[in-house]
Amino acid sequence: MGDWEGVRLHVVTGKGGTGKTTVAGALAMALAAGGRRVLVAEVEERQGLAQLFDVPPLGYEEQRVASAPGGGEVYALAIDAREAMHEYLAMFYRLGRAGRALDKLGFVDFATTIAPGLRDVLLTGKAYEATRRRTGDRYAYDAVVLDAPPTGRVVRFLDVTTSVSSLARVGPINRQANSITDLIHSPRTAVHVVTLLEDMPVQETADAVAALQAAQIPVGAVVVNQARPPHLAARSLPAARRGRLDHHAVLAGLRAAGLPATDDVVDLLTREAADHAERTALEKTQRALVDDLGRPVYELPRIAGGIDPTALYELADTLAEQGAV
């Protein structure tokens, strides 16, 4: 059993550039293993998921994007505020075609600009609906993964009641916001924060964890992304950092391997090692800060060649091995 038994909505956030879309995709794949159906949704009109799964741009219809080991399936969706608004109008006001006609007047832009929280209610509302949807006597999806806005905006995005209650104090939007709030503040939700082992992302992760806790939104795991493989033995690191590796030993090694054994080559390798050691030291400090947050930590390796669908399977396995599912 994984760490998130009973969680139906996995929200993934992280500072820009930390790879939260990749992690959301990998988590969806991991959750789908063993014959489950998982939906992964994005809300920022970036088409990041389409790139990740290497499929044509996603629309407002859920689309199968990958199969997981054991007959699992991953579906993906790009939630669009405009479409969500139309669906909403059709559902609550039976305004089908009229809803689209309103668009010509700039209604949706207007409504979502006039009440910034409305946009978020519509976006999270769609994810909320997908978590609850049933086909027959079972849930349509065993889990929903939401590729959410970055850390700086995520609490505001998720805490929809606060953002709309001052504007829409009564009415269906308010009711919808309240239902979403119930889900988001319940143990059925987990917000995972993606970070790199660097100063700024870790700082933002700590800030986000604190903000989520203050808003009483359940914090999930911290996912350390793009962790570097430890190439050098720990005992060599201090010397490597100071550029004081055993010159002759390296030279002898190069000779033994039949490679060009010159001082220039040794110097270059030594410089690279110094860089690596400095980096490793920095990461160690940051890793300690991550551990201090007291959340489960998963570590994903940096994929030197870049992320493609094959790499996603690898990342999903790594998440599963570490207890994520």
Binding site: G17, F110, A111, I114, A168, Q203, L245, L269, A304
Partner: protein
């Protein structure tokens, strides 16, 4: 590896020449989130100051320690001198952090009577609008830029742009907010509540009726009342928001402005950069070049990736004697792999935009959080 037909090397982006050019008064750094835009803006401003310019940098949301290093220990909407800048060449550096809400409040306060201003500032709709992220931050960044440019204190303003969903938001958001505030719908909403009877009838179109009734149903009548009070208070205040947005937009098109696109060697970041470059060119906006940040360079050891891996494997298989060399070779192979990928991604951008000058900033082992770090980045502009 065969890269195919060799892409022409893009022209070198000479950042120093740009910042030494006294005709340039505004430098705007743009790019998607997480590429080091803020750090680049700060590094450019510092380098410009130490090369004799009277510079001010407008940052949006610097890392805490970077902010501290520039003397910005808290959110501050006023430019302040950065300590520790070498002023020998006659330059200086001020820094400020954009406070979106405060800037909006100032715009209101500067253009109306204290009484009216109080009324607007207390309006719930105004409060939501002025602290929301959807466009307001970009609008206020532009607004602040206009204000700074109007003052004689600096001869170079370096503007960092908000961490938007897409790089284009910075260009589009002010116009969007301007059109919104000046738009027919909002005017109508202002009018409906104000006039009740006759004006209402005069303005009434079937479509608008559906809009207002739908809005009332969804958002409640109270919000609409707040909106109309806000619009009425705004109406008498000053020239249109759209007009102001257009003025700043025009400022960005002048030859005194230079855009610098910042990207990391990642597909997403360079795709955004590509969109942005196309957009600047379509709008005839002055693009100076691309800063490709955190590029992993491969040293010229004369040992290829596969060769290094194979050698490491041989050493590892032959017992424990050469573990250090084996580890170094694995490290080297890994670097070459990453460097090759960075190179490929960069080349793909240049193939699509051969005219865009590029400077590469190597990936540093540590984080940048002080003036020395910024200085180091600045000196790398030259080397790229």
């Amino acid at each position: 590896m065969n890269p195919g037909p060799r892409a022409a090397k893009p022209p070198h982006f000479d950042v120093d020449r740009l910042i030494d050019d006294r005709r340039i008064h505004i430098v705007v750094t743009c790019g998607s989130g997480g590429v080091g835009k803020t750090t680049t803006a700060a590094a450019i401003a510092l380098r410009a100051a130490e090369r004799g310019r009277k510079a001010v940098v407008l940052t949006i949301d610097p890392a805490r320690r970077l902010a501290q290093s520039m003397g910005l220990s808290e959110l501050d909407n006023t430019p302040r001198a950065v300590k520790g800048v070498d002023g020998e060449a006659g330059g200086s550096l001020d820094a400020m952090m954009l406070d979106m809400k405060r800037t909006f409040d100032e715009v209101v306060e500067d253009h109306t009577t204290p009484d009216r201003a109080r009324q607007i500032l207390a309006n719930p709709f105004y409060q939501a609008l002025s602290s929301s992220f959807a466009g307001t931050q970009e609008y206020m960044a532009m607004e602040k830029l206009g204000q700074l440019r109007a003052r004689p204190d600096w001869d170079l303003i370096v503007v960092d742009t908000p961490p938007a969903r897409s790089a284009l938001d910075f260009l589009d958001a002010p116009e969007r907010l301007g059109s919104f505030l000046d738009g027919r719908l909002i005017r109508l909403l202002g009018g409906t509540a104000r006039a009740g009877g006759r004006t209402y009838l005069k303005l009434l179109h079937a479509g608008f009726n559906v809009v207002t009734s739908t809005l009332t149903k969804i958002l409640g009548g109270e919000l609409l009342k707040d909106v109309s009070t806000f619009v009425n208070a705004l109406d008498t205040m000053f020239g249109g928001f759209r007009e102001r947005a257009e003025q700043t937009y025009a400022l960005l098109k002048r030859p005194e402005t230079a855009f610098i696109v910042v990207a990391a060697p990642e597909h997403d970041a360079l795709r955004e950069a590509s969109y942005f470059v196309d957009r600047l060119s379509r709008d005839a906006m002055p693009l100076a070049g691309l800063v490709l940040n955190r590029v992993h360079a491969s040293g010229a050891a004369g040992i290829g990736e596969e060769q290094a891996v194979a050698a490491a494997e041989r050493l590892e298989a032959s017992g424990g004697e050469h573990t250090l060399t084996a580890a170094l070779l694995r490290l080297h192979a890994d670097r070459l792999k990453v460097a090759a990928r960075d190179e490929r991604i960069g080349e793909r951008f240049s193939a699509a935009h051969p005219e865009v000058p590029v400077t590469r900033i190597p990936a540093l082992a540590g984080d940048v959080h002080d003036l020395d770090g910024l200085r180091q980045i600045g000196s790398l502009f030259d080397a790229g």
